[in-house]
């Protein structure tokens, strides 16, 4: 494990920008890669100056409404608020996490709103997806999708471990029902659409691990089909990001994933690098998404 960290962490640290944040592939700092880098450093047990600068970047870029913009130049809070909260929930005394929690609790997919459902019903629109469960959108005012819903569940679960709250618990469980309703026929997940015009859509390897991880710890459900799908995908998934989520998900559900290569041949972006570190730490018993 230490060998993995000592091989990968220097490149992660070197990619940090002067402003304390990280970019996707170098370049300007964005909220998402900054949060992933901080989660990776936390997973590796780091707490030095680079972590402090990264946290300062997040503190500086939080918006007045409690959310985060994807990039400091964007005048809108979005799904990346869940990413920031995943980091801050681990920081004792960090300011901003209560506001972030409140912002996320105010968001929901537009398709599950009563007014929209009434409109669709009045217009006789045939709705193919189950819209009874409210998930989280990428961008306010749009529909809920799998990835932002799964990340928000993980973030709110972290907050709940410290501060139990019935309203938050209810949203988390509704979010999990949303994920189950968007499961593809093979047990995996794609971005969040199971069918259109009567045609079924297939799942993707890189979007199957994350929702499965977000379903860990919820009430008991039979996820055998999904776990088998994850195991199949893990055997062939070329993406470091996809493999990392699949490994973490299988571990969280008590399965033992096959051993990965110690270091992949190439990391294509910062999220690959960070998730690789996080997944290796999870294999060693420390999953920063769940702990």
């Amino acid at each position: 494990m230490q060998l993995v960290f000592s091989s990968v962490l220097p490149s992660l640290r070197n990619a940090q920008n002067q402003d304390g944040g990280w970019g996707y592939r170098g370049g300007a700092s964005w909220t998402e890669p900054t949060a992933y880098a901080l989660l990776a450093l936390a997973a590796a047990g780091e707490s030095g100056e680079d972590v402090a600068r990264g946290l300062a970047f997040l503190a500086r870029t939080q918006r007045k409404d409690g959310g985060w913009p994807p990039h400091p130049s964007v005048d809108q809070s979005t799904w990346v608020t869940a990413m920031a909260l995943l980091v801050l929930a681990d920081q004792p005394g960090a300011t901003g996490s209560d506001d972030a929690n409140a912002w996320l609790m105010r968001q929901s997919g537009r398709e599950s709103g009563y007014l929209h459902r009434l409109r669709e019903w009045l217009l006789g629109v045939q709705v193919e997806e189950n819209v009874n469960y409210s998930g989280w959108p990428w961008y306010p005012g749009t529909a809920a999708w799998v990835t932002p819903t799964a990340l928000t569940i993980l973030a709110l679960e972290k907050v709940s471990r410290r501060k139990p709250d019935p309203a938050r618990r209810a949203r988390i469980e509704t979010g999990r029902e949303f994920l189950l309703s968007r499961m593809c026929r093979d047990g995996g997940w794609n971005y969040g659409s199971t069918r259109a015009l009567g045609f079924a859509y297939d799942s993707y390897p890189e979007t199957t691990g994350l929702p499965l991880l977000a379903l860990a710890g919820g009430r008991r459900r039979n996820l055998e089909k999904s776990l088998s799908c994850a195991e199949r995908y893990l055997a062939s998934c070329p993406s470091v990001e996809g493999r990392s989520w699949l490994e973490m998900a299988l571990l969280a559900h008590g399965r033992t994933p096959p051993p990965s290569a110690p270091i992949p041949p190439a990391f294509r972006n910062l999220i690959d690098t960070a998730l690789f570190v996080v997944a290796r730490a999870a294999a060693g018993g420390r999953n920063v998404f769940l702990s």
Binding site: L197, Y204, R268
Partner: protein, 319 residues
């Protein structure tokens, strides 16, 4: 404060004025070429040089941005613009003296753009692909106000790589589309909208109205050139799950509406039924008579693409 240069603002406004325009002033009839190409072979390189010569494309000293359609990967389905088409375009624009030719795309469903590009054969076909590629989903952006939009959108963050291009070249695949009936040059512009801000999929465009948002995006990028990969297209349940359709053509021109309308005729779709084309047109480009056609006549190469039953009314009448 989001950056937007006066140049971008003027371009976007000029595009909008051109479409909302003060009038239907006489305009030059748009030129659209239809070139036969039966397969993805080395002949494409000559084809592309000839196409750009026919259109007298001037790119000397300019920064050219090629925007293919890269969506998903399935070995059995022609979902993406073929990598040889992208490389042939790159070579042809470079040969014309472009200062730089970049490839840029922001896929709407798969987040790992480079994995997708690799699976689609781009790394193998385009030397140094990673060096000349910009992932538009996470590019730096500027906020662009939409003047008199058709959709409910008032503004959009758009990638500076595309906004700052000397020439934006839309390189779509000729495909049917389960919501918009056909996806061609204009619909290909959805890939310019950054997923890093709006998500995967770029659902804000769907809520704003797919047709309306497509027409709005077209207005923001008036200075573009479109080359459609219709060598093997997709029919039926496109843009992801349809079946291959060998149309054997490359359709090109500087007026995207006219190019798309010509593609529709080749596909056996009535372009005047396609809402985003009607919203985007300014000078009757969906009308057959107005377009100056060179190369093959669309009627001669027409090969009806299978349409989903919901689009049966869109079939272009013969004769």
């Amino acid at each position: 404060m989001p950056f937007i240069s006066r140049r971008h603002l003027l371009l976007a406004s000029a595009g909008t004025l051109g479409f909302t325009g003060c009038s239907r002033r006489p305009a030059a009839r748009p030129l659209v070429s239809v070139t036969l190409a039966s397969a993805y072979t080395q002949e494409l390189y000559d084809n592309f040089r000839r196409i750009l010569s026919e259109h007298k494309v001037q790119v000397r000293g300019k920064r050219v941005v090629l925007k293919p359609n890269l969506v998903d990967y399935d070995a059995a389905a022609p979902i993406n613009t073929h990598p040889l088409v992208v490389h042939a375009a790159m070579e042809a624009f470079s040969a014309l003296g472009a200062a730089e030719v970049r490839i840029a795309e922001g896929p709407g469903l798969r987040r790992d753009t480079l994995e997708l590009a690799e699976a689609a054969g781009y790394f193998q076909t385009v030397p140094g692909f990673e060096r000349i590629f910009t992932d538009l989903n996470v590019d730096q952006t500027s906020l662009v106000r939409l003047m008199r939009p058709n959709s409910r959108l008032e503004s959009l963050y758009l990638p500076r790589t595309a906004l700052g291009a000397g020439l934006l070249v839309s390189l779509p695949k000729m495909k049917t589309h389960h919501w918009a009936v056909a996806t061609l040059g204009i619909k290909n512009l959805f890939g310019l909208v950054p997923g890093g801000i709006y998500g995967w999929p770029k659902n804000i465009l769907h809520w704003a109205g797919i047709h309306e948002a497509a027409a709005d995006l077209h207005r923001v990028f008036p200075r573009s050139f479109t080359i459609v990969d219709g060598i093997v297209g997709m029919q039926g349940n496109g843009p992801l799950q349809g079946r291959p359709k060998a149309a054997g053509v490359i359709v090109a021109g500087p007026d995207t509406v006219a190019v798309d309308a010509t593609c529709c005729r080749i596909m056996g779709i009535d372009p005047q039924m396609v809402r985003y084309l009607r919203l985007a047109e300014t000078n009757d480009q969906t009308g057959e008579e107005w377009v100056r056609q060179i190369g093959e006549a669309p009627a001669r190469v027409r090969t009806d693409f299978e349409l989903l039953p919901v689009f049966s009314e869109y079939r272009l009448r013969r004769g």
